[in-house]
Amino acid sequence: MVIAEISHTPSFSETFLTNLYKVENGERFRACLQCGSCSGVCPFGYLMDYPPGRMIAGLRADEFDLVMDTDTVWMCVSCYACAQICPSKIPITAGLMTRTKEELILAGNVPSELQNALENSQRYGNPLGESPRKRADWTTGIQPPVTILGRDRRPVDVLWFVGDYPSYHPRVQLVAKSLAKIFNALGISYGILGPEENSDGDTQRLAGERGLFEMLAEKNGRIFSRYQFNKIITSDPHAYNAIKNEYPELGVSYPVQHYTQFLAERIDQLKPLYKSEINATVTYHDPCYLGRANNIFEEPRLLLESLPGVKVVEMPHNLSTSLCCGGGGGGMWLDGFQWEKAHVRLSEWRVREALTSGANILAVACPYEPPRFEDAIKTIKEAASLSVKDIAELISDAL
């Protein structure tokens, strides 16, 4: 007896799940135990209509369209806490959350704040909406001058991928200037792309704009191929993550390090250059894309411990359990949206924790963090004496 195959149009849930299995380690979605750890550890899981665990349940129940009708996935800051804690090691952040945001963007369901950042990234190559021509303006006055590869046309050892916020944000430009000072002190042969550099695109990708990410990566790839250098150093963990883990599959493959790795390798050259004591108790905030996503925990701490007069203390959430500053996955461009939903800021939570550690300096290594944490400090009375410094700034202060 032959049973005719019943024709079946796959539902949205089925198609979505089939595509999810194709993500790296995507088959692990079959192994979800529904333990709920992901939803519990998610910093905003308590207010999502469908936190990650329920999203997976929704997919299995063929009801994912209900998830798509809500907007709380925009609370996801792509911090990898869910993926880190999952006992089945399911790629929740890279797979489920990012793919859901991609579907929302394709459907045109984008919060307006995020829309601006995405349009700016497309048009100007940076989410801040600044002129590409001004991307190297922060280098004015630095001696010896910062090499801009398109202008100075000479090979360098290190291509420094400066990134959006260190290039344009007045607070984070101080971090870029500190790094330039350190590179100069160490006699590093380095150069930047200046006006030719585009956003690394990683946060746009994690906010669901895959096409925009690819466009930016291709532009950066074309520019990289024009110049002679041996490796890339990034100021930004997100740029590091993109160039290390995402660009190669688009055919853009270079050795890359975050600046903390690069400097930790040169710690013996750095130490004799320290001239002044910092005299502070410092706690270090592990950025999501340096720590949890890329397992770089040791180098930033080595650098801090090398500084004269610095006592390093840990916060309750540290290393792989570090808390997100709230800027990832598009959070940087969804402050109003997230405030409306949550009436709390993740950055305030982190600043309160830094206070309990007894530190007077909160050290960071990601460009999203100085403005986010400094803004949080302004809203917490007891935090007035806490200052936020990028590791590069602390090193530069000691030189």
Binding site: S112, S131, R133, M215
Partner: protein, 254 residues
């Protein structure tokens, strides 16, 4: 419902504007062009109308740098036909010339509705819609912020100062000057725009005789001059703050 949306690209204010050697026009060396914001709203309103009651949307733009990206984006939003207008668009083209240039093509398309941005910041003129309506012998309503259509008429929403709203009924065909679409212009994923670049073609239309007369002549273009009573404070942040404090003390507010 056939809708035609003529749009133009104007200087992007992301870079500071500079004036060229003639002293009467912008230096275009570094000038980037961007869609006129009101025209972006006109496209959005056209797509909203199409989604609500069906229709066919044609977007037309002078063929200048950046026109293709802009047209493909309009297509990804839902525009059905894209046309770039060929003519000599060097320098700023006045609205009289543009209206005459657009006329034969718009007539050929036989639209029920022509939606234009009510004005553009590069000329602060706002006459394109009215001129087109005059040449087409159809009604014009400007400063529109909402439209609904039936087969042969449109109800137009207009917001007046003081919190008043009017609904105006007009017979179609008509030209409308859009101040704001009913919803902000939507975002389209880059992957969709790239898809359009591969699958959609842009028509070209040659303006038969492009006469550029009719506009006002700019005799002088300049940066605002410092007024006599203004004191410009210079220096770094600390110096500026100290000078401000001195001034506040001097005039007795501190």
């Amino acid at each position: 419902m056939k809708i035609v949306v003529p749009v133009k690209l104007i200087p992007d204010l992301v870079d500071e504007l500079t004036i060229d050697a003639t002293g009467a026009a912008l230096d275009t060396t570094w000038l980037r062009l961007i869609i006129n914001e009101f025209d972006d709203h006109a496209i959005e309103q056209a797509i909203i109308l199409k989604e609500r009651s069906g229709g066919h949307v044609t977007v037309i733009s002078p063929n200048v740098e950046g026109v293709e990206d802009m047209l493909f984006t309009a297509s990804a939003k839902g525009a059905d036909k894209l046309v770039k207008l060929n003519g000599n668009f060097d320098g700023s083209v006045n609205n009289h010339a543009l209206a005459r240039g657009l006329l034969p093509l718009v007539q050929e398309l036989q639209p029920d509705l022509v939606l234009v941005g009510v004005q553009a910041h590069n000329d602060m003129d706002g006459t394109l819609g009215a001129l087109l309506a005059e040449y087409l012998h159809v009604p014009y309503v400007g400063y529109v912020s909402g439209v609904s259509v039936t087969s042969n008429q449109a109800i137009i929403r207009k917001e007046y100062p003081g919190g008043l709203v009017a609904e105006i009924e007009i017979a179609l065909p008509a030209v409308l000057g859009i101040q704001a679409s009913e919803q902000p212009p939507r975002y389209v994923a880059i992957s969709k725009v790239r898809q359009m670049m591969k699958t959609v073609s842009i028509d070209e239309y040659e303006i038969p005789v492009f006469e550029t007369h009719g506009g006002a002549t700019v005799s002088r273009m300049y940066q605002p001059e410092v007024a006599e009573k203004a004191t410009m404070i210079s220096g770094d942040v600390d110096e500026t703050a100290n000078k401000l404090i001195d001034i506040f003390k001097e005039i007795g507010v501190l």
